[in-house]
């Protein structure tokens, strides 16, 4: 570096032939006349890879926002053997902890979400009136989860319910079944027993 500074700056002479098809750019009156083609190709490589690096950095940041593992309570839980549930009863024992009602009808057992489909309040089970009633805006649901009054647009959702290897009911909250999509016919949305 120090060597070059001792000499007066000598502009390099253009050597490469001019490219006639170059796009019309305002002719630069600059002392450093350089080979346009090589200039462009270096500039091209430079800007292209700079763009790639920027995009890469940004996508790394984006990916960074999605953790691989999170500390959330497990989405599936075991709810004891089916024999613990009586026909026709809405079981509220998992309501607090997992947000699930387990209902046993004559056809089978299903797990109802305790989230009202209107604005996400938690309805109450009124056993004397045999219906779920949401305290926020008065939506009412039958025991099956079907809405019949109030503003709720659709029935309560059901969760995947299976029988685990050890004979206990296994409820997986990560999979939902919605009646209006016809998903209640899915064999995993209820447990025949």
């Amino acid at each position: 570096m120090s060597d070059s500074t001792t000499q007066p700056p000598a502009p390099p002479q253009p050597e490469a032939p001019k490219t006639p098809v170059a796009p019309a750019k305002p002719a630069a009156v600059t002392p450093d006349k350089i080979s346009r083609r090589s200039f462009l190709s270096w500039a091209g490589v430079a800007w292209f890879s700079f763009g790639a690096a920027t995009t890469g950095a940004l996508s790394i940041v984006l990916r960074y926002l999605f953790p691989n593992v999170i500390f959330e309570p497990p989405t599936s839980f075991k709810a004891g053997p089916p024999s613990e549930y009586e026909v026709g009863v809405v079981d509220e024992r998992w309501k607090e902890k997992f947000g699930v009602w387990i209902v046993r009808s004559s056809e089978g057992i299903f797990a109802l979400s305790t989230i009202c489909t209107h604005l996400g309040c938690t309805p109450n089970w009124l056993s004397s009136e045999n219906r779920f009633k949401c305290p926020c805006h008065g939506s009412g649901f039958y025991k099956s989860g079907i809405n019949f009054e109030g503003p709720a647009p659709r029935p309560l959702e059901r969760y995947r319910i299976q029988l685990a290897d050890d004979g206990q009911i296994l409820i997986d909250k990560s999979k939902k079944y919605q009646q209006e999509k016809g998903e209640w016919n899915n064999p995993e949305s209820f447990l025949v027993c």
Partner: protein, 933 residues
């Protein structure tokens, strides 16, 4: 702008550098993506899925071959036939579907009307009720509205129901047409159920391009199939020193097959955990979602890399293997490493506290029992193991038992006298090697013996009469001495010392006196009295005194070199006073005084009084390190000295220390009294591993109460009883509580062995047991083994009684049996049964019954009313085999069928009760009289 500006350098050159740096930056960012995506656990998961797919494919093959081909063909044919029929009916199906749509439309229409009306009705009703309740005049208008709307609602409802009925009819028609095909399909599906299930399983784990794409770097947040698995443990926390961090175990990320059956032979890390019924399974005692992995195994559950999880190799071989395979290295900056596999049981004690033994943890139990037995816990304080008995014999009256020479020869090397002794070697160990040290050691030994004898009490000793040695040997075998001791050539109990070479040790008079009543010599001894007669005691004395150890006898006794004595005394004095004062003090001492002083110092220094009662040391404090938190003690607090041939880990230090207690002095320059003092126990590999496990289990880690196996009050009482039973060695003679008696194993005729005590709590009355324990009486006269008198205190006796009761789930009340009024008829029936079933034949000790052999003899029935519980008697008569397997008591009422249908109408239950009633009033004297008359 007129004059062009000077330039600094060529812009082209800049673009060249710009290009180079940009390309390099892009490359380095790609490097980031690469190292972020490359994780070992992903490879393991891929390998596991491959393994799983292979297994499932094999299963599929099997399942497919299990499917009945012919049946399948048949069902398929049926199905296609049904399909054909269906196709031929396609027109009517279309027709019906159209009708169905129309019906649905109708329902929707009527429903809208109904719901509309219904909401008004609900609203009117509400206002009507509300106004009525508040006496609002508007109630009337709502009553009218309600009355007006009600019929309309009703009408709408009827319409709706009608529409629904119409739909149902159409639907039924449709269903009828479709049914045949559906059922055929169902049958086929059912037959292929298993194979479809497996196929689906394979599909889930089979590699595919779609899966690769989902697992690709940058995209793997959408729905990756390779995912970190974790168990979040609600009640368990990692101790972060004054903070508790939620425990989470991600071990299953790599150990994917750990809780699945079928991977028992798979290579690690996929192998199934042994004993899934006890561990990991959701119905087991330790479900993975509650207990996790690191709770027992240790290590860092948060990590998903082999090294950072702090895996610890089992031995050098595994270490070398891991280094090669996983690039394993020791995590220097991480204390809480995994326990090597052989010590895993140490973790059981974290939650299983307060029990004498931990179920199924054999190694830990062995270690604990050894630590109690060898007196480790006499010297080392450990929370939860306080108040144990001193394991060594009482030395307060040692002079009446043996002489000084024997004591000093014994101290030199106890195993020379008795190879099986539990007394560890204290002197002449490796850190005291060399001629100079040997002199010092001998001086200390002689001084100790001197001290012990000088301060010994001299209780009165009886004179031993002449005895018959051969008879004595027989008595030792017959009376049950072998439950605790090995003697007379039989290796049996190890609770007490082996009875060998006593002739070289004790004098006959003392031995005679001791045998007659051990408590006379030492109030604290665990040795019970067998209530020997003078001649019995004399015979045993004669036999034991005839056993000598010639080599020991002829060995020279150690001598106290006066200079060595002076040196040691000086060392002691100097620690308390200045050098010159010490010299002056020493010069004032007489030779005997010197030895006594040195003896006292030696005992204090070696802590002999921790295991032995020694006069003058009643209040002395133990000399050893407290071990209550040894399992978590920081590694840098362990002094490895110059020992480099073992890995520097907690467990290896403990084990080395146990095997070679003085080794860490190796290469160090230390004064005589600065050297390590732990004695040498000569442990076997198994023993030292077990004790190491025990020591590792000693932690004061706080475990949430919810996660612990807490004992109920009753369980605590049982454990107290167990500790006492261990101290008294009841299980040397009796089998119960899951342990088999030693005597039973060396007695040929099981009928001659001491009784089995399973179910004792529900069998005998508490008051009787209490009395019996304090004053044993003969119940089974044919047994030669003798129940000893332990001299138990009332509290101890009650503890044992309650222990037996609680083992059988009973509470103690000390209420005796209350006899019910019984009709004379019934008593008579009882008597008749008693005689007809010939109970007295065995339950009476006569010459003829004894001739049948001990196995056929039974206890005297006159004891019944005070001894046995009436409900037990019923159960016993009903089915003796169920109560005690192998008993000679015949079952008279198989399947509750009476052999004597004439009595009490053949009702077995009534008959048994009659026998019971008779037994509680049984008086053989009266019976004999009545028989005679």
């Amino acid at each position: 702008m007129a004059k062009p500006n000077p330039s600094l350098y060529s812009v082209q050159k800049t673009f060249f550098w710009f290009a180079v740096t940009s390309v390099l930056l892009t490359a380095s960012l790609a490097g980031i993506v690469y190292i972020d995506a490359k994780r070992d656990w992903k490879d393991y998961q891929k390998a596991f899925f491959k393994l799983k797919a292979e297994k499932a494919t094999a299963e599929l093959k099997q399942a497919a071959s299990a499917v009945d081909k012919k049946e399948l063909e048949k069902l398929r044919a049926e199905h296609s036939a049904a399909r054909k029929t269906l196709e031929s009916n396609s027109k009517s199906i279309l027709d019906l579907n159209a009708k169905l749509t129309a019906a649905e439309l109708e329902i929707t229409k009527t429903k809208v009307v109904f719901q509309d009306l219904k909401q008004f009705e609900d609203s009117y009703r509400y206002y009507y009720e509300e106004y009525t309740a508040h006496h609002d005049p508007r109630a009337a208008s709502y009553a009218a509205k309600l009355a007006e709307i009600k019929p309309r609602v009703q009408e709408a409802k009827i319409k709706l129901e009608k529409a629904e009925k119409g739909r149902d009819t159409v639907q039924a028609g449709l269903d009828a047409l479709l049914r045949q095909e559906k059922e055929a399909q169902k049958k086929v599906d059912q037959l292929l159920d298993e194979t479809t299930r497996i196929e689906r399983k394979i599909e889930a784990v089979k590699p595919s391009f779609a899966k690769d794409l989902l697992n690709a770097p940058m995209l793997d947040f959408i729905a990756p199939t390779l995912e970190i698995q974790q168990v979040v443990l609600e009640n368990l926390h990692d101790d972060y020193h004054f903070a508790k961090a939620q425990k989470v175990d991600r071990c299953t990320t790599c150990h994917m097959g750990i809780d699945q059956k079928g991977f028992e032979d798979a290579p690690q890390p996929f192998r199934t955990h042994p004993n899934l019924d006890l561990y990991l399974g959701s119905m087991s005692a330790h479900p993975i979602e509650k207990i996790g992995c690191t709770t027992c195994h240790g290590g860092n559950g948060h990590s998903v890399s082999f090294i950072d999880t702090a895996h610890t190799p089992r031995d050098e071989k595994q270490k070398a293997e891991w280094e090669k395979k996983y690039g394993w290295r020791d995590l220097e900056k991480w204390e809480a490493k995994m326990l090597p596999l052989q010590y895993t049981q140490a973790a059981c004690a974290k939650c299983h506290t307060g029990t004498v033994e931990v179920p199924q943890a054999d190694k830990l139990n062995l270690g604990r029992n050894l630590a109690v037995d060898l007196g480790c816990l006499n010297c080392h304080k450990v929370e939860g193991f306080e108040g144990l008995w001193k394991v060594g014999p009482d030395l307060t009256a040692v002079a009446s038992k043996t002489d000084e020479t024997w004591v000093s020869k014994w101290l030199q090397d106890p195993t020379r006298f008795r190879p099986s002794t539990k007394m560890p070697r204290i002197f002449h160990l490796e850190n005291q090697a060399g001629a100079d040290n040997a002199k010092l050691e001998d001086a200390a030994i002689v001084a100790t013996a001197k001290y012990l004898h000088h301060h010994s009490a001299h209780p009165e000793v009886l004179r031993a009469p002449q005895g018959d040695a051969a008879m004595g040997e027989k008595l030792i075998k017959d009376l049950g001495c072998l439950g605790c001791h090995s003697a007379a050539g039989v290796t049996a109990g190890t609770h007490g010392p082996e009875l060998s070479s006593l002739g070289s040790k004790v004098n006959a008079d003392w031995l005679f006196t001791w045998l007659k009543d051990p408590k006379r010599h030492s109030a604290t001894t665990r040795m019970p009295s067998l209530r020997l007669s003078d001649s019995e005691a004399a015979d045993i004395t004669a036999y034991l005194m005839s056993q000598r150890n010639e080599a020991f006898d002829s060995a020279a006794a150690p001598k106290a070199d006066p200079k060595a004595v002076d040196d040691l005394i000086l060392l002691n004095l100097q620690s308390k006073m200045r050098h010159e004062e010490a010299v002056a003090q020493l010069s004032k001492m007489a030779p005997d005084e010197k030895l006594l002083y040195l003896g006292e110092r030696t005992i204090a220094h070696q802590g002999c009084y921790s295991c032995h009662d020694i006069r003058g040391f009643e209040q002395a404090k133990s000399i050893a390190t407290e071990l209550s938190d040894e399992g978590r003690k920081n590694l840098h607090q362990f002094d490895f000295g110059y020992v480099h041939d073992i890995p520097h880990t907690r467990q290896d230090w403990i084990r080395k220390k146990l095997e070679d207690p003085r080794v860490f002095d190796h290469g160090k320059v230390k004064g005589y009294y600065e050297r390590l003092r732990m004695p040498h126990f000569g442990l076997s590999e198994v023993e030292s591993e077990a004790i190491t496990t025990f020591v590792l289990s000693l932690t004061q880690e706080e475990i949430a109460l919810e996660a612990q196996d807490l004992l109920t009050t009753d369980e605590q009482r049982i454990e107290r009883g167990r500790r006492l039973i261990q101290k008294l060695n009841c299980q040397g003679c009796h089998s119960f509580d899951g342990k088999d008696a030693i005597l039973r194993s060396i007695t040929e005729d099981p009928g001659a062995a001491p009784p089995v005590l399973h179910g004792q709590g529900s069998k005998v009355q508490e008051a009787w047991l209490h009395d019996f324990l304090q004053h044993p009486t003969t119940i089974r006269p044919w047994l030669k083994y003798r129940m000893p008198t332990f001299g138990l205190t009332d509290t101890e006796t009650q503890d044992i009684v309650r222990y037996f009761a609680l083992l059988d789930g009973r509470q103690t009340s000390y209420r005796g049996e209350v006899l019910q009024e019984v009709s004379p008829d019934r008593l008579a029936a009882g008597k008749e049964l008693f005689e007809k079933l010939q109970c007295a034949k065995c339950h009476q000790i006569t010459a003829s019954s004894q001739a049948m052999g001990a196995s056929f003899l039974a206890p005297d029935l006159t004891l019944t009313k005070h001894r046995l519980r009436s409900d037990w008697v019923i159960d016993w008569i009903k089915d003796p085999q169920a109560m005690q397997e192998g008993t000679m008591m015949p079952g008279f009422f198989p399947d509750m069928q009476s052999p004597l249908p004439d009595i009490l109408g053949g009702d077995a239950q009534a008959q048994i009760e009659a026998i019971r009633d008779y037994l509680y009033r049984y008086d053989p004297a009266a019976a004999a009289e009545s028989t005679a008359s």
